[in-house]
């Protein structure tokens, strides 16, 4: 599966110092975010609402109309995308190299188009019709079976409103997988689903990505879900990248103070009531900027320097990273 022209250590996606501003008004919402995703890696992005996680990923992949990448460097498969006309350039990768799964399965399928048509359209858009209508149909049905849709041949001719949320999200995955992308971006794919369905869909996704050699960026507000599902997690807060932490280090002092505090908020299986500690105050919205740490006002460890010093950037795109101005959580 390795690409012959690439050195094996070259990451699939490299984002350096990405800065994102709104088109109207020009306010900078996300600043100085750097990270890299390796081939076949499952990479998590966590943040509370307003942290900028969805804005960051949707803009990076050309799906946000009202914001744009104003600075930074994005490299995919060794090719750097131009900052000028970035949206068009990255959309050129969608539909074959990069797949995307939106959050709400109840609105992410076209209600007036048959399921099968929506999958074969994806195959057609990715590859043209090299195999003809009949074989495309068979491929689509095979994929539907693979993501766990019962009686796929029957479902092929049905409309989305006949499927539950979990089944719809599987269909969306089938659409993404049908284009054989190298990177799959899933934005809160299970937030609208019940616990049992959520676990099944996430496991199906992880299993497919393993089998297809697919890299995944999984965006979620649920740190515990990510801790159990992915290798590394990028933690966003107030539009800043505060931490890139191996899942195993979540909940320890090896993580950034925000990551540590966020994990302390979550009731997990193992915790007792006394283990739950809230973070005082309200979350800061995206657009905090880069002078000072966005979390400083709520951080238990904060010192005066945290409020004013420029935030460290992940300049070397290291595999782990902590933006803590006091050096906490740094490996």
């Amino acid at each position: 599966m390795t690409h012959p022209t690439l050195a094996p250590e070259e990451p699939l996606l490299k984002v350096e110092d990405a800065t994102i501003a709104l088109r109207v008004g020009g306010r900078t919402m996300v600043s100085g975010v750097s990270f890299a995703v390796n081939r076949r890696e499952v990479f998590g992005v966590v943040g509370e609402s307003g942290s900028g996680k969805t804005l960051l990923t949707r803009t990076l992949f050309g799906l946000q109309d009202d914001a744009r990448l104003t600075a930074g460097r994005v490299t995919f498969e060794g090719r750097t995308l131009p900052l000028e006309g970035y949206g068009a350039a990255v959309r050129g990768l969608l539909g074959h190299a990069i797949g995307y799964v939106p959050q709400d399965p109840f609105s992410s399928l076209n209600p007036s188009m048959r399921i099968g048509k929506q999958i074969t359209e994806a195959i057609y858009l990715a590859k043209g019709w090299p195999m003809g209508a009949e074989r495309t149909r068979e491929a689509a049905i095979a994929l539907m079976a693979e993501v766990g849709i019962p009686e796929p041949a029957l479902a092929f001719d049905q409309y989305p409103d006949q499927f539950s949320g979990g089944m719809r999200q599987r269909i969306v995955f089938a659409i993404a997988l049908s284009q054989e992308p190298k990177l799959l971006v899933a934005d809160e794919p299970t937030t609208a689903l019940d616990a049992i369905t959520q676990r099944r869909v996430i496991e199906m996704m992880l299993d497919r990505s393993r089998r297809h050699g697919l890299a995944v960026i999984l965006i979620s507000h649920n740190l515990e879900l990510l801790r159990q599902s992915v290798g590394r997690i990028a933690v966003l807060y107030g539009g800043q990248l505060l931490n890139i932490v191996p899942a195993a280090d979540v909940g320890t002092h090896a993580a950034h103070p925000y990551t540590e505090a966020l994990f302390a908020c979550i009731p997990t299986r193992e915790k007792a009531l006394a283990d739950i500690r809230s973070i005082p105050g309200e979350p800061v919205g995206a657009g905090f900027g880069t002078s000072g740490c966005a979390f400083a006002s709520r951080c238990a460890y904060a010192e005066p320097v945290c409020l004013t010093a420029p935030l460290p950037l992940n300049a070397g795109i290291t595999s782990g990273f902590s933006a803590c101005l006091l050096g906490r959580g740094a490996q």
């Binding site: 509370e48 609402s49 019940d194 616990a195 049992i196 959520q198 676990r199 099944r200 507000h221 649920n222 740190l223 515990e224 879900l225 159990q228 505090a261 966020l262 302390a264 908020c265 979550i266 009731p267 997990t268 299986r269 915790k271 007792a272 009531l273 739950i276 500690r277 809230s278 973070i279 005082p280 309200e282 979350p283 709520r298």
Partner: protein, 259 residues
């Protein structure tokens, strides 16, 4: 002791929803459920969407009726309550909803929202006393009393949920029904509100029905739990037992799935 009889007893309560054209009903039918809630208990009702758990909340608070069965409150069948007693019932039982954005009147200041409870159920208080009492309540739930003249849209989700709790507590209810009170809040705010509930349980003489889909929250907060699936109670018992050694197949599946 007078507390020998349960505060709430649902006996074989069933409810079905007429399927009407174009009407989406998110709460599902109930088939013959039994629930008892004793004074001072925190009882969890655990289930996924469509399990009927919100219908239970609405029946206990009498926001909706039921087709068959009996609902005894302090031993009285609520069907026999007079108009006046029904009104008094509302100061005994209060509810906090999931969505803090929809549960406050957008056109009323938070102070007047809290004062409305007092106006209706504490008729003996004068206006100055109501204002003072509302301020105390806002402080008690962790808000600044000086913010009383602000409107709901000026507050965050967590703060609105605190206002909703203050409004419910203002009538000094014996029973507080909480319908997914944490679900639409941010993670760090969920923990804050959870701590607020823990404090209130300790400080006030409250009985709580806590309706949730979150296994872990129920395990931490509740004494007893009823697990619901498709309008039935599939398992019940001490929260710690049920949620660590489930007997029912569905409960087991649910526990396994939870992250």
């Amino acid at each position: 002791m007078a507390g020998a009889e349960p505060l709430v007893a649902l006996e074989g309560v069933a409810k079905s929803f007429a399927r009407r054209l174009l009407v989406q009903n998110r709460s599902f039918a109930l088939s013959g459920i039994d629930i008892t809630i004793n004074r001072g208990e925190v009882v969890g009702i655990l289930g996924e969407s469509g399990s009927g758990k919100s219908t239970v909340a609405n029946i206990i608070t009498r926001l909706t009726g039921y087709d068959s069965g009996r609902y005894l409150f302090k031993g009285r069948d609520v069907a026999t309550l007079t108009r006046k007693e029904s009104f008094a019932f509302k100061s005994d039982v209060q509810i906090v909803f999931q969505d803090p954005y929809g549960s406050l009147n957008p056109r009323a200041t938070v102070q007047s929202s809290v004062m409305e409870s007092l106006l209706l159920h504490k008729r003996e208080l004068g206006k100055a006393e109501r204002i003072a009492r509302a301020g105390q309540l806002l402080e008690e739930v962790g808000l600044n009393a000086a913010w009383g003249d602000r409107y709901p849209h000026e507050f965050s989700g967590g703060q609105r949920q605190r206002v909703a709790i203050a409004r419910a507590l203002a009538v000094e209810p014996e029973l507080l029904v909480c319908d997914e009170p944490l679900s639409s809040l941010d993670v760090s705010i969920q923990a804050q509100i959870l701590e607020l509930f823990v404090r209130m349980i300790r400080e006030r003489n409250l009985t709580i029905v806590f309706i949730s889909h979150d296994v872990n929250v129920v395990r931490l907060l509740c004494d007893r739990v009823y697990v619901m699936n498709q309008g039935r109670i599939v398992e019940q018992g001490q929260a710690r037992d049920v949620l660590s050694r489930p007997q029912n197949e569905y409960t087991a599946r649910l526990l396994e799935a939870v992250y």
